[in-house]
Symmetry: C2
Subunit: 145 residues, 2 copies
DNA sequence: CAGCATCCGGATGGATACTG
DNA sequence: CAGTATCCATCCGGATGCTG
């Protein structure tokens, strides 16, 4: 009997790689920053503690589902602290931990890179798209096939 | 007639914010780094030009669909150059542009942060999860409701 | 060799309604 | 006020098969 089909071997390799990827520290950071709201929340908390409702206004576009979900996830990773003050109504404050601040500096680095290099990126895009369109037009004119 | 319902107003606000987000330079960078393969590809190209097939081996887990798609996207943004050498079989090399290298340094920054701080993150997670479980257990023991 | 086209499942995330 | 719970659309990305 054959040991393993090529497909099985490939899938195994892929799974191994997925595992490796999941453990790659750099990837985990990028995943965290890559999600839609984490970076925004870190920035919103940069200047000090904020209440839940403050955050939902500060980061205007977020649904309360994603707000809560993101906050929980950031809290779990030790990037921010959640402090509940009992009473009616309840009051909940969120505050960056030192770890959170250190990650914030990473966000700022991206932001800085963006400000200095995005113009180049946009220029490159414009060139690329113009060329692509030109090629498409030429094709149409030459009556391909 | 009423000018606009509350729902319409909210949706409009959300759309405005989405637009603003789409233009936020920092977000665009994070989106690029956040996607599954861009950072890996930048790293794979760090030491010099690579052929398509080299890349597909170097970044072992990627499907050729995502490989091509990511490369195209990076090329469009001016982060790498695609050079086709005619012949049979065809040969295609990819190479980082200076802009690509500069973004690579951002990837490295994340990587560095990860190496120095991920242990803290994992510790925080362990604490969080342990606490959560403890709370759940207590709830069960007290026979809630 | 270096792709492109198509199909498809699962995760992401938004809208809405309800709760302590 | 600060959430939780549910439903649902979209989209990312993988598998497969075909091409110059």
């Amino acid at each position: 009997m054959a040991t393993q089909t090529a497909a099985q071997l490939r899938e195994e390799a892929r799974r191994d790689y997925a595992l490796w990827l999941a453990e790659c520290p750099g990837r985990q950071v990028l995943d965290r920053l890559g999600d839609k709201w984490s970076a925004l929340l870190l920035r919103a908390l940069a200047d000090g503690p904020r209440r839940y409702s403050d955050l939902s206004r500060l980061v205007a576009g977020v649904s309360q589902k994603m707000l809560t979900q993101s906050l929980r996830s950031l809290e779990r990773d030790g990037l921010l602290n959640r402090e509940v003050t009992a009473g009616v109504p309840v009051r909940v404050d969120y505050e960056l931990t030192p770890l959170g601040h250190s990650m914030l500096s990473l966000v700022d680095a991206s932001s800085t890179w963006a400000r200095t290099h995005m113009p180049e990126v946009h220029a490159a895009r414009a060139r690329y798209d113009a060329d692509a369109e030109a090629r498409t037009d030429a094709e149409a004119r030459d009556g391909k096939a």
